[in-house]
Every structure is written in structure tokens, then in C-alpha cells.
């Protein structure tokens, strides 16, 4: 199937129009050309944490330091939808918290001949786009993990965050059900899931947005009533909480979904970037919750290229 050929002319005509309006400003615009590498250098200077090149997953996934930036988009995950929306908003430099190519490390060894990979790569190339993976360093942002700044804000919990460890909160006592409803309402997390007694009162909370794996959760639960996370495998932390309940312990787990648990931190990233990127627009591009459940089926994915 010639998927590459399926790329419609429409989106590129729209991009061409955006490009033309920039080109029209002539020599003055040329002098001010901002590169993705310059944006990255300013980011490094503003993270309040050392940039550890080559450690972890943060790097250019598409384009590179020399890509001329027409606009910057911050996104939670570089889904195809997010790339379309970024270009539509005039932004060809996408800063993403989560991967582009379907693994944490954006590994391509088994995907170079993948038809979807080819279409996505072609879309990025034709749009003259750059993608920067900003995962580890955004969590390392100080004084507070950049993701947690955004999530605390959207939940209205910034004042409850512990000063010594921003993953711990002491919130006003509420039931697990009310807490789940609050999070669902604020984060629009329609498929959020819970293990616990809905009527249990909770106050001491540990938040680990995104994926949470590993037995450290068993120790953390000694200090809290409830953990709020993005995703986990059932036999990991969810089973630990299930067993804690079965042992008569009042513990609860609220699982939001990975994207919706973290993307508020990328909203904050846009605000942070605007503090030192003045030449081009910087926009937060929200992405959809991937899931629906049979009670509320919806179709939100844009299927047009």
C-alpha cells in the first residue's frame, strides 16, 4: 500500500501558506532565524539541572539543532494527531514528553520497514519538523519536576505539595470516590480506574504520574493512604493494593491513564518556554485521551492526513 502517497495535498498547502507569510518579511526575518538548537541551549540554561547529554532518552528524534523554527509546540506524546495539530498551529518544532516511535527509547531496529514509520517520517520531513524528546530532563527540572508543577496546578493541589518531596501531598480529607471524581473532572479522564473502598477517607497521597512499576510502591504505601499514578501493569502495584485491601488495610490506587496524568506538565512547559523563547509562538497542544469504555464510546482521533 502506498501510504506515503496517501498524504493529502491539503495539509501541505496549508503549511506552505504559513511558510510564505514568514518568508515575506525578508532579510529582517532571516537575521532572526531561530534554530531548534538555540531553543535547546536556552532550555538547558533554564532547567536548573545539568543537561546530561546521551544519558536517558532525551534527544532529537526528528530534525536537529539546525532546523529553522517557525513555532514551538509542547505535547505529551508525539502522536500523529499531535504532529498534525502542531503544524496546524504553525509550529514545526515539537517538544514531546513521551516517544514518537512507539517505545521509550524510540528504537527503530524492528521498525525501519514499518509502513507507519515511513508515513510518519515522511510527514515530519515534508513539514520540515524537528522533534525533541524531553522526558528525563523535564522530570529533573527544579525546583519542582516540571510535570508535577502542571499536575498540581490542574488539580488545585499546589498548596498541599510537600516542600521536601513534591510527590507527597497532604490534601484535605476526602473519600476515594470524591478524589477520583475530582481528578476525573479536572483532567477529563473518562476511563480512570480505581482499586479501593470508594468510601474510605484519604488524605496522605503519593503521586507518580506516567508509568509506575516496581516494588518501591510497597514501601511508599507505608506512608500514604492513596497513590495516584498514570499507568501500571495489573500484577504490579495494582495487585499490591488489591492484596493490601484483602489484608484489611485501608489503601487505594487511582490510575488516571498515562497521557492524561502527565500532559498538564507539558502545558506548564509551554509557559516556561515562553519565558525565554520570544521570537516565535510557543503553544501547548493537548492530545486526546486514547481510550473510551463501552458506556461512553467516542471517536476523537483525526483520521485525515
Amino acid at each position: 500500500m502506498s501510504l506515503s502517497a496517501a498524504l493529502s495535498r491539503r495539509s501541505f498547502l496549508a503549511m506552505g501558506a504559513a511558510g510564505a507569510s514568514l518568508a515575506g518579511t525578508g532579510a529582517q526575518a532571516q537575521r532572526r532565524t531561530l534554530t531548534a538548537g538555540q531553543v535547546l541551549e536556552r532550555m538547558k540554561a533554564n532547567l536548573n539541572t545539568p543537561w546530561r547529554e546521551g544519558v536517558g532518552v532525551d534527544r532529537f528524534i526528528a530534525g536537529g539543532p539546525d532546523t529553522a523554527v517557525r513555532g514551538v509546540a509542547t505535547v505529551m506524546m508525539a502522536s500523529f494527531d499531535a504532529l498534525k495539530d502542531s503544524l496546524k498551529a504553525g509550529c514545526n518544532f515539537v517538544i514531546t514528553h513521551e516517544p514518537t516511535y512507539w517505545s521509550h527509547q524510540d528504537r527503530l531496529d524492528e521498525l525501519r520497514d514499518d509502513p507507519l514509520y515511513k508515513v510518519k517520517l515522511d510527514y515530519l520531513t515534508r513539514g520540515d519538523m524537528a522533534i525533541l524528546h524531553l522526558h528525563d530532563h523535564w522530570h529533573a527540572h527544579r525546583s519542582v519536576d516540571g510535570i508535577h508543577v502542571g499536575t498540581a496546578r490542574v488539580l488545585g493541589w499546589s498548596q498541599y505539595m510537600h516542600k521536601d518531596n513534591p510527590r507527597y501531598y497532604t490534601v484535605p480529607p476526602m473519600t476515594v470516590l470524591d478524589m477520583a471524581r475530582h481528578i476525573q473532572a479536572r483532567m477529563k479522564a473518562r476511563t480512570l480506574r480505581v482499586i479501593g473502598d470508594p468510601g474510605q477517607t484519604v488524605s496522605r497521597l503519593y503521586a507518580s504520574y506516567g508509568n509506575f512499576g516496581g516494588l518501591s510502591g510497597a514501601q511508599i504505601f507505608e506512608n500514604v493512604d492513596v497513590m495516584v499514578i498514570g499507568e501500571a501493569q495489573d500484577w504490579d502495584l495494582p495487585m499490591f493494593v488489591r492484596d493490601s485491601l484483602a489484608a484489611g488495610r485501608d489503601k487505594a490506587l487511582i490510575v488516571i491513564g498515562h497521557v492524561l496524568s502527565e500532559q498538564w506538565g507539558m502545558e506548564y512547559a509551554a509557559e516556561w518556554l515562553r519565558g525565554f523563547v520570544k521570537e516565535v509562538p510557543v503553544r501547548y497542544v493537548p492530545i486526546i485521551e486514547p481510550y473510551w469504555n463501552p458506556e461512553r464510546p467516542v471517536m476523537e482521533i483525526n483520521t485525515r492526513l
Binding site: 512507539w102 480506574r193 492484596d243
Partner: protein, 306 residues
């Protein structure tokens, strides 16, 4: 303690296992005496016929292999509520498809002081339970008890398509919403989640029961199927992949059932097969509540009394 005899080995349904001689425990047809957990485990693995993998999480994860067995329980996950139900049913050898100690390898480092760990450990000791993790041997057995049991539970035995890397079914034409409702109802998967267009026409379905890693999930999604059904797969891997497929106009869907609903039909079927292999010890499948709730129906199903 009941005196139990192990029936003379009959060739297992699993073709590969037929050539393997049964172990000592099963050899003497008239051998009597309490049968120990370790004997039964060896016998079951032999009858399953799947060779030991060089690296595997299948092992004795709790209890003493010399424990006299009163009965066998199969479970999707050896949760504490599953262990309570097994003990109440007087089944003290538990065969589980998934973890007991909350990680893939059932590691115990750092657990000794944890109150939940201690409660579960003490319950296992007090009730003379033995827990054996049997995921890989089940995955490698042919015929495959998990695949057969899930197909049977769904009423899809006749719809099974042989030959692919993953389980495949060709269904009567339906759509993604109706398929998700059917699976929710049939498997008790009340917090199941779906990616894709609810109106997507569906006929060809692939399934990866339990956890689906990035590969083969992506390979399944790009094969000529409409929908992939899995227990669980990460949001930044196959979930993102299918979203991207849909975003370029491909007609695809993904259903995440949850680990327990995606496995326990298989463990039920495995219990039935075992009952035909080991006649003197009763065998029972312990069905687990899903455990999760969502805001459509906020009800805790886990009993909190020990």
C-alpha cells in the same frame, strides 16, 4: 490427610508431551500415600509437555514442596483474595498464571518488613499453601490451555483461524463497540478500555492474552486484522501505534481487557484438563473479581476481612 493415588499416566492432549515419560510420582499406578506438592508440580509439567525455558519466571514462589496436597486451585493471579478462596475450598496447591509477589520475577528483596507482605506470607504459612507460577509452561504447551480456554469462554472455538503468530479469530461481522460490549459482558471486564472508532466494522480479530509487549503487538496490529485484543499493553507503545494507524486513515482498533479477564478463561480450562490428568486430588478453578472499578460503577469487589 487423604491418602491419594496418582492415576497411571495417560497420554496428554498435548502432542509434544506424549513422548516424555511420566516422572516417578506417576509411574506406579498403585502407589499410595500423601502426595507432595513438588511431586504434583513435576507431574503436571511433564503432562503439559512444554520444555523448561532456559530463563523463566515459572517456579515455586511460596510454600514447601514437601507439603501434602489436599487439592489444586488454578488462578489467573495469586492475589490474597484468590488464596483465601482456595484455602476455603481446601485447595492448597495453587497454580497461577501471573505474579504472587507483585512483580514479573516475584522478587522479595526489601519485602520482609512490609505489612502487606507479612499478611500474605502468614496466610500462606497458616494454611499450608504452596504457590507455583506456571505462565511459560502454559504458553508453550500445545494445545495451548490459555488460548483454548479463552476461545471456549468466548464461544469462538469455531471462529479460530490457525497459523498466525498470535491467536486469530474470524467473527461474524460486528463493530468495535458491539465487540467491546460482548467482551465486557462475557469476561466480566467491567473497566475494559478501547481505542478506535466505535463504528469500526470488525471481522478479523487477533488476541494476545495477558500482557502484550511492543512486539508482537505492533506486528499483530499491522497484519490484516481489524482489532487486536490484549490483557494489557503500554500506552506509549502499542496504544500509541494504533492511534497513529487510525490517524493516517487505517481501519484499526485495540481493546485492553485487563490482566485477569484476559487470562482466567484459560486457567478455568486448564483446571478442567488437570482434573482429567490427576484424578485423586480435586482440582478447581478460582475465579477472581476484576478488582478495578471506574466511575460508571464505583464498587469495591475485594473482601477486606482476613
Amino acid at each position: 490427610m487423604a491418602e491419594i493415588r496418582i492415576a497411571q499416566a495417560t497420554p496428554p492432549a498435548a502432542g509434544r508431551g506424549a513422548a516424555t515419560p511420566p516422572p516417578a510420582a506417576g509411574r506406579g499406578a498403585q502407589r499410595t500415600g500423601p502426595v507432595m506438592a513438588g511431586q504434583l508440580i513435576d507431574l503436571i509439567l511433564t503432562r503439559l509437555g512444554a520444555p523448561n525455558r532456559p530463563r523463566s519466571n515459572d517456579r515455586l514462589v511460596a510454600g514447601d514442596p514437601l507439603t501434602p496436597v489436599t487439592g489444586i486451585a488454578t488462578v489467573a493471579m495469586a492475589t490474597l483474595d484468590a488464596l483465601k478462596a482456595a484455602a476455603a475450598a481446601k485447595k492448597n496447591l495453587i497454580l497461577t498464571a501471573d505474579a504472587t509477589w507483585w512483580s514479573e520475577g516475584d522478587g522479595l528483596v526489601g519485602m520482609e518488613g512490609n505489612p502487606t507482605f507479612r499478611a500474605k506470607r502468614d496466610f500462606i504459612r497458616a494454611n499450608n499453601l504452596v504457590v507455583y507460577r506456571i505462565a511459560d509452561h502454559l504458553a508453550d504447551a500445545r494445545p495451548n490451555p490459555i488460548a483454548d480456554g479463552m476461545a471456549r469462554g468466548l464461544g469462538w472455538e469455531e471462529q479460530t483461524v490457525e497459523g498466525g503468530e498470535t491467536v486469530r479469530f474470524r467473527l461474524m461481522p460486528t463493530n468495535l463497540l458491539d465487540l467491546s460490549r460482548f467482551l465486557k459482558e462475557r469476561l466480566g471486564a467491567r473497566t475494559l478500555r478501547v481505542v478506535g472508532d466505535p463504528a469500526l466494522p470488525v471481522r478479523d480479530v487477533a488476541a494476545i492474552w495477558g500482557r502484550a509487549t511492543q512486539m508482537p503487538a505492533i506486528r499483530a496490529l499491522r497484519s490484516d486484522i481489524d482489532v487486536l485484543v490484549v490483557g494489557y499493553t503500554f500506552e506509549w507503545e502499542a496504544v500509541l501505534y494504533v492511534q497513529d494507524q487510525i490517524a493516517i486513515g487505517l481501519k484499526k482498533g485495540l481493546i485492553l481487557l485487563g490482566q485477569v479477564p484476559s487470562l482466567q478463561g484459560g486457567m478455568k480450562h486448564f483446571a478442567g484438563w488437570l482434573a482429567g490428568q490427576i484424578t485423586e486430588v480435586p482440582v478447581e478453578h478460582i475465579a477472581l473479581a476484576e478488582g478495578w472499578w471506574n466511575l460508571e460503577r464505583p464498587v469495591n469487589e475485594i473482601t477486606t476481612t482476613l
